[in-house]
């Protein structure tokens, strides 16, 4: 079942093309990451999906056809910062959310406990620390146990323990079959919790797919030796190598299709080049990401 479908969604702020004809599909039960550097259009995209920013073009559908307030009531969403009334208590703030969404107010105690704020439930929102505010926003997100969660930079402002807790929470929620859409500029986060990912840059889609298949892409081999110039020359000449880059004292090598690491090692030995280090590394999302962004840069004048 498709939870969300966007068709050529487009938004400009004056000369800035924030989101460029973006088409996405999110299926039920996916943990869908929207990954991109700052200013790549993640928040704008989510804002359009939640109805707070008007798109210039394109369209989107939640749950196969709904848009607007009725769809939003079925979604728990946090965009950018936690937004609450500073002079109201945590309970009062959540009461407002319950009344908007038509949720039983009994659920307030459950979520406040879930995010560990039960001791502060009668404090005013303005007395909370940044991390606690973020937790309350998470609690608010989970009110009424919505089918879909939308989160934007959800671990911002949390301490390492808080970040770990939030990630555990996301995985827990995901394991119950809910759909989660998560925007982040932290690759590690996306890699750890997401099943699917789209990579954005300057509002355009660079890549989209399963996190596993993106990560399981080509292997990267890290080589180092005493004579890097000689090693480089050998790699350039080799028919086994697809590409390589030099990083400080290391060379990062990507092999062609079916070539094995051993084949390269053997070839270098035959040429009489000794290696200090040979390490096979999975091509992690980060590399993939940087690679994609780099490729895109070369296209631009």
């Amino acid at each position: 079942m498709i939870i969300l479908e966007t068709d050529s969604l487009d938004k400009s702020y004056g000369p800035v093309h924030a989101v460029n004809h973006l088409s996405l599909t999110v299926g039920a039960g996916q943990v869908y990451g929207i990954l991109g550097p700052n200013g790549s259009g993640k928040t704008t995209t989510l804002s359009m999906l939640m109805g707070i920013v008007r798109p210039n073009g394109g369209s989107f559908k939640w749950f196969g056809g709904e848009t607007g307030p009725e769809a939003n009531k079925r979604i728990g969403a946090l965009i950018e910062t936690p937004n609450f009334y500073p002079y109201l208590s945590l309970e009062q703030n959540l009461k407002i959310v319950c009344r908007i969404k038509g949720i039983d107010e009994k659920d307030i105690q459950r979520v406040i406990r879930l995010v560990g704020l039960h001791e502060r439930s009668r404090s005013r929102f303005q007395t909370l620390s940044l991390g606690m505010k973020q937790r309350l926003a998470l609690g608010s997100l989970l009110l009424g146990d919505p089918e879909v969660l939308v989160m934007d930079e959800v671990t911002n402002g949390l301490d390492p323990e808080g970040i770990a807790e939030v990630r555990t929470l996301i995985r827990q929620v995901a394991s119950t079959g809910k759909t989660i859409i998560l925007a982040s500029h932290i690759l590690d986060e996306v890699e750890k919790v997401c099943t699917h990912v789209v990579i954005l840059k300057k509002g355009s889609k660079l890549a989209e797919g399963e996190v596993d298949s993106l990560i399981k892409g080509k292997e990267v081999i890290i080589l180092s030796g005493d004579n890097l110039d000689q090693l480089s020359a050998a790699l350039s000449a080799s028919l086994l190598v697809e590409s390589y880059t030099r990083e400080n004292e290391d060379l990062k090598v990507i092999l062609k299709g079916e070539v094995k690491t051993g084949d390269l090692s053997k070839e270098l030995m035959e040429k009489g080049i000794a290696l200090n280090r040979i390490e096979v590394r999975k091509n992690r999302l980060e590399d993939q990401f940087l690679e994609l962004v780099k490729q895109d840069n070369t296209l631009q004048p």
């Binding site: 804002s47 939640m50 109805g51 707070i52 920013v53 008007r54 607007g68 307030p69 009725e70 939003n72 009531k73 969403a77 965009i79 910062t81 937004n83 609450f84 009334y85 500073p86 002079y87 109201l88 009062q92 009461k95 407002i96 959310v97 009344r99 908007i100 969404k101 038509g102």
Partner: protein, 274 residues
């Protein structure tokens, strides 16, 4: 509608600024109406009377006219309350959050209109209660019919209060900033529009100023008739205070302005990114 009211009630009732301004409003009104009957103005303008007795303002049924007139003078407090309530939604980003949570933009607006109607209703009730109390204190020899015969002035007061607050709401939604909205509303109400009216009255058409929104909202009801009013009427520089359009025309105009302000606000909210 009940849903919107329940949502708004949580926000409004616990808001300190609301509590303080509401008390200030009631206090300022009570103080001003308490003072007049105690004043004994001796004046050289009124030939026949040595002392102007302001107590006649407090006799049934004229008291409804008097109290509605004075209560309307303090409606700027109500307008400022509304600017705070609406401005907060922008500064706390809560309008935005409400839409994310599943309210429509029209519901945002209608929630505020409901708050405005409730505040206006509460204040009309306050004026009613004070009117009864002061009326019974100062009136002598009245019949039951006298007590309530001009009670429709309270309805006029209600419409004025609503108009003033809807205008304030429009400023707050347009500017999205409490301070700026407040300053601009005050400048418009007390300086800009009066000057425009004055100029137009003088150079374009006599009494055209009476059709302007703030003139109607703040001075729908002319000064209650009294020896002082007679004096003002005779004095050309002061007689603006005693002028007003016919009641039905004023009512039609103020309702028209309310509708315009509401629709403008609705349009701004619908088109904007939150």
């Amino acid at each position: 509608m009940m849903k919107l009211l329940k949502i708004e009630s949580v926000k409004v009732l616990s808001y300190r600024v609301f509590q303080i301004l509401a008390i200030l409003y009631a206090g300022a009104f009570l103080l001003s109406v308490s003072v007049f009957p105690l004043l004994k103005l001796s004046t050289q303008f009124a030939n026949n009377q040595d002392i102007l007795n302001l107590k006649t303002w407090y006799y049934f049924p004229q008291i409804w006219h008097t109290f509605s007139y004075f209560a309307a003078k303090f409606n700027i407090f109500l307008a400022i309350i509304v600017i705070f309530l609406v401005g907060n939604e922008f500064s706390y980003n809560t309008f935005r959050q409400h839409v994310v949570n599943g309210l429509s933009r029209n519901e945002l607006l209608n929630g505020k209109v409901l708050v405005i109607l409730c505040i206006a209703l509460a204040n009309t009730l306050m004026v009613f209660v004070f009117g009864l109390i002061f009326g019974f204190i100062y009136s002598t020899g009245y019949s039951f019919q006298d007590v309530f015969s001009q009670i429709y002035y309270l309805g006029i007061y209600f419409v004025q209060a609503v108009g003033h607050m809807i205008a304030a709401m429009m400023f707050a939604v347009w500017l999205r900033n409490k301070t700026l909205s407040m300053v601009l509303l005050i400048i418009y109400q007390f300086i800009l529009e009066p000057i425009i009216r004055l100029v137009l009255n003088k150079y374009v058409l006599v009494n055209i100023g009476l059709y302007f929104p703030m003139r109607i909202i703040t001075k729908f009801i002319p000064l209650p008739d009294n020896a002082i009013t007679e004096m003002f009427k005779a004095n050309t520089s002061l007689n603006d205070m005693t002028k007003a359009l016919p009641l039905w025309l004023n009512l039609a105009l103020i309702l028209g302005y309310c509708a315009i302000f509401y629709l403008v606000t609705k349009r701004i909210l619908a088109k904007r990114n939150l």
